[in-house]
Subunit: 203 residues, 2 copies
Amino acid sequence: MQYPSRILEKAVDEISQLPGIGKRTALRLALQMLKKPTSQTENLAKSLVSLVNDIKYCKKCHAICDSELCDVCSNPMRNHDLICVVEDIRDVMAIENTSQYKGVYHVLGGKISPMDGIGPQQLKIDSLVKRAADAKEIILALSSTMEGDTTMFYLYKVLKDTEITLTTIARGIGIGDELEYTDEVTLVQSIQRRVPYAASLSN
Amino acid sequence: MQYPSRILEKAVDEISQLPGIGKRTALRLALQMLKKPTSQTENLAKSLVSLVNDIKYCKKCHAICDSELCDVCSNPMRNHDLICVVEDIRDVMAIENTSQYKGVYHVLGGKISPMDGIGPQQLKIDSLVKRAADAKEIILALSSTMEGDTTMFYLYKVLKDTEITLTTIARGIGIGDELEYTDEVTLVQSIQRRVPYAASLSN
């Protein structure tokens, strides 16, 4: 595609480097920016620069935050003996949104995925092992995929000889879901992992 | 949604003001930027600021360009008697990409659309009428929608008393399209607007 302007072409090139945004969408976005007040795009540019330069990661749990420690880790009301291991900050946000979990987190920063060149060294596993010494329970809350399962198994191997209780989030049919629309694997597992009915009443 | 960081929240707010990008996509983009080298996002920010501040519009045809006159308007080899009226720069790019059109353009900057508050005054119609005095033919190449048809009819009313030849691009079934998959309106119109077979051979 020939662009009528070098400046436009440069902007389209830069925008289309964002994941999931192709040249066509990038051009549409660039042209929309030209229709909006200049200040709006300048503010966007400023906040992007601030994002990549000023953002901090919690020294303890590696979650994104604005200070040395995140709000969860610095909160004395949270249960610091209970650590929930998640893949990234979006999982923390999703769990925090429920306002039900009272423990703390540990953000791995990804899952073990040799295809993407991500091994245990690329993840925050060493610091988890160090933190684990002071904790009573670690909840492995990674996604139920090949990579998630591999990562959880790796963490299990690393932590199984400690005193710590290792748990994983419950897998099964979602609350409100209908059986007939559930995928086969989940359905089979939900029967294999059945729990006493009386136990389910206590939740 | 509670964000763990003000800086992240600000960035997500700014990104999600782009058309077609919601909060969730904005968050995904922001987190991806944090995984990429800082320089990449800084370059993106720079090119956006440059886009909205440094871009120029051709004085003659209002197309986006880097100088006073666009490459087409400043090219003496183009036929300046033939003006193709289009909605926006993307249409110019699409036609230029074919390398077949030898005339010049006029970018209206939109279509008459009272619902969006766009009337003839918001479009570059006055300057088209001025340019028309020196031209022999004007091709109306707007999209075949309610707004496009309205805009073309308005231009027809404005220009019909001049010496100029007013044409519109051919409507019909696309080259290579199959009749059975063509929408009804196009099919009906393609029969009503049928042309002598011998005339179609000359193209």
